[in-house]
Symmetry: C2
Subunit: 357 residues, 2 copies
DNA sequence: TTGAAAGCGCTAACAA
DNA sequence: TTGTTAGCGCTTTCAA
C-alpha cells in the first residue's frame, strides 16, 4: 500500500497550476476585506448558525464579488462529512446502468452529495478499487451491479463508510441492499408463458455468478415446477451482452426439444437472441419463438425489437436507495435491510401471449 | 449561494455514522502504537521521502494491521492537490459516452486521479453544476460532450482548476480541447459518397448547437461544394437520439429530390434512420439508400445494422487527453491547444460503395 | 451577535 | 534518519 507514485505526481504540479491561475480565494480573504473574523464568514455559509442577517448578506455579497466558495474538503475535515458518495459500477455495457447512474448521481446531488465514480470490469476490480475510494472518506459507498466480497464490506465499515448494494446482494451479511425482485420477475415470466399455453420453455442466462442472474432463473424454474411444467432448458450465455445472447440462441435452437418460448436474463441478451433468430435462423418473431427480456431499457421499445420485458422500476429503486441512505446516515438505530422492488411486465410484440389476455 | 441545506445534512449524521462503525484510524494511532512520530508515519506513505526502509516497513505493516490509509482529503489540504478529476458529462443516452467515460476514469485512476462525475442534461446544467464541483478543488475539470460558457470557464480558472473540453470546443478561448476531427470526418464521408457516384446527398443533423454536429455538416457540405456536387439536403433531427433519427428519415424521404445517400450526425441517429427506412418505409438497405454514421459504437456492428461509419478513436482521444492533462498540471509554460484526432471509415454494409473500391 | 482559539488529519520546513 | 513545529482552510466551542 504505497503512495500514488505516478507521473502526474510531480512536485512542480501545484506551483505550475498556481502560476497559471490565481490563488484560490479563502475565508480569510473575505474576512480581511470586510473587517470581520473568519468565524463570521464561516457562519454566513452555515445554515443554522447564529448571525445577524445583515452581516450574512454582506459576507455573501463580498463572497460573490471575489468568487469565494467554502472549500468542501477543508470543511469535511472538521465536520466529519465529506459529502461524497463513492459509487462503483460494473457492467457499463448494459445500457440500463448508465441510465441508473445518471439518475442516481442527480438525486444524490440534490441531497448534497457529490458522486465519486469508479468503473470496474466484471472481475474483482471493485474490491481492489474500493480502498482508494475510501481514502476520500465518502459518506456512503454505493455498489452498482457489482459484487463485493464480505471482506471488503468489512473494510468499508471499519473505515466508517456504510455500504449500499444496488442490484446485487450478498448472503450472510447485514448489508443494505436494494434490488429488483428478480425472483418475482422470473415467476412472472413463467406464469406469463404457461398461461399462454407454452410448454417447451428455455432460459438464456447472463453472467453466471450474479444474484440477478441466479434469482431470475430460480424464480422462473421454481414457478414452472410449482405448476408442474417441464423444467426449462437452460443455455448459458456467459455474460450480459448482445454477442452472448446472439450466440446462445443459436446453440439453444440446436437443442431438443426446440423451445417455444425463451426468457432472457436481460434485455441486451434478449436483443442479441432476437437478432440471431431473425438474421441467422430466418425465424419470424413471435410466430416461431416468443422472447421475454428483463430491464426495459430504451432499446426494448425500438420497433424492430419491440421487446416484451419485465421492467425494472429504476426510479423507484433509486428513490428507495436515497431514502435508505438517509436512514444510514442519520439514524444510528437503523438496521440495514435487503429490499426488493417488484418489476412489471411490459407487453410488446416479441412474445405471442394471445388468447389468455 | 447558501449552504447545502438538505435533509441529509442533519447534525446527528456524523455521530450516527460513528456510532455504527469504529472511528477511522489516523496516522496518530499508528504513531502511538509504534512509538514513532506522526511525521514518520507520513513519510512511510510518501514515495520520495527520506526514511529508513526498515522503519517504513514497520509502519506499513502496522498500518495494514490496523487498516490505516492516509486521508486524501486532509493530505490534499496541504499538498494543494486533491487528486480529484471533476468530470461533467451530458448526452449519456449516446452509448459512445459511457464507453469513453469508463476508459477515461480508468486512465485517470491509473494516473492517481479519482473521478468525481456529474451527469448533466443537454441544457445549461453543466454551468450550474460546476461551482459545486469546484468546491472540491479538483486538479482538473473534464467536460465531456457538453458545452461550457466562457464565463464558467473563467470561473474555473479563477478557482485554480484547468479545464479540458472533450468532444466540444468553444471559439475565442484558449481552453484545451480534444476532439475528433469532425470536419475531416464530414469531408471523408462526402468523398466516399461522391466517389461511389452518388449525386443526391443528405445530412441528418443532431443537436443543433454543438460543435460536433456543426463541423460534421460543415466538412460534408464544404467538400461537396469543392467537388461541385449538388448541395446536400439537410434534415434537422433536433437531438442525438434514435427517435430523432427515426422521425427525421421519414421527413427526409418526403422531400424532393429523394436522396440516394444519407450521412447521419452520429450512429444512434443513423440507427434510428435505418430502422425507419426498413420498418416504416419498407426500404432495403443499402439497395434503396446508403447510410453512413459517425462514432462506431458497438451497436454499429450488430448484424441487422452493420453500419458503415466514421470511427472516433476513443482510446487515442483519451490517451491524448491524459497526456495534455499532465502538461497542464506540471508545465507552467504549456499553452492550451485545440487538438483534433482524425477518424477512420469503417466499412460495413449499410452503404453500397461498390466499384470504386 | 461576534471574535479568539483550538483543532480536524495531514505534510513540510527546520532542527536535532 | 527522525522529531518538533507550523499551518493548509475550515468549523466550533467558549468568552466577551
Amino acid at each position: 500500500m504505497s503512495n500514488t507514485g505516478n507521473d502526474l505526481d510531480k512536485h512542480t504540479a501545484a506551483s505550475a497550476r498556481r502560476a497559471r491561475i490565481g490563488r484560490r480565494v479563502t475565508a480569510r480573504d473575505i474576512a480581511r476585506s470586510l473587517g470581520v473574523s473568519i468565524s463570521t464568514v464561516s457562519r454566513a455559509f452555515t445554515n443554522d448558525a447564529v448571525i445577524k442577517p445583515a452581516t450574512r448578506d454582506r459576507v455573501l455579497a463580498e463572497a460573490r464579488r471575489l468568487g469565494y466558495t467554502p472549500d468542501s474538503l477543508a470543511r469535511g475535515l472538521i465536520t466529519r462529512r465529506s459529502s461524497i458518495a463513492g459509487i462503483a459500477v460494473a457492467d457499463i455495457t448494459n445500457p440500463f446502468y448508465p441510465e441508473v447512474l445518471a439518475t442516481l448521481t442527480r438525486r444524490l446531488h440534490e441531497s448534497g452529495l457529490q458522486s465519486m465514480v469508479f468503473f470496474a470490469g466484471p472481475g474483482r476490480q471493485v474490491d481492489e478499487a474500493l480502498p482508494t475510494l475510501l481514502q476520500y472518506n465518502p459518506d456512503v459507498a454505493v455498489i452498482l451491479a457489482a459484487t463485493l466480497s464480505s471482506e471488503t464490506i468489512r473494510t468499508c465499515e471499519q473505515a466508517g463508510t456504510p455500504v449500499v448494494l444496488f442490484n446485487r446482494y450478498v448472503n450472510n451479511t447485514d448489508t443494505l441492499a436494494i434490488s429488483c425482485d428478480n425472483l418475482g420477475g422470473g415467476r412472472l415470466v413463467a406464469d406469463t408463458f404457461l398461461d399462454a399455453g407454452y410448454q417447451r420453455l428455455a432460459y438464456i442466462s447472463g453472467l453466471p455468478d450474479t444474484s440477478t442472474n441466479r434469482d431470475r432463473l430460480k424464480g422462473f424454474s421454481e414457478r414452472i415446477r410449482e405448476r408442474e411444467g417441464d423444467p426449462p432448458l437452460v443455455e448459458d450465455a456467459g455474460s450480459f451482452s448482445y454477442e452472448s445472447g446472439f450466440n446462445a440462441l443459436k446453440r439453444l435452437m440446436d437443442r431438443r426439444p426446440t423451445p417455444e418460448a425463451v426468457f432472457c436474463a436481460n434485455d441486451i441478451v434478449a436483443i442479441g437472441a432476437l437478432d440471431a433468430a431473425k438474421v441467422e435462423l430466418g425465424m419470424k418473431i413471435p410466430r416461431d419463438l416468443s422472447v421475454i427480456g428483463f430491464d426495459d431499457i430504451s432499446m426494448a421499445a425500438w420497433p424492430p425489437y419491440s421487446l416484451t420485458t419485465v421492467r425494472q422500476p429504476a426510479n423507484a429503486m433509486v428513490n428507495l436507495t436515497l431514502e435508505k441512505i438517509e436512514c444510514l446516515l442519520t439514524d444510528s438505530d437503523y438496521q440495514p435491510e435487503q429490499l426488493f422492488v417488484p418489476g412489471r411486465l411490459i407487453q410488446r410484440t416479441s412474445a405471442r401471449l394471445g388468447e389468455s389476455l
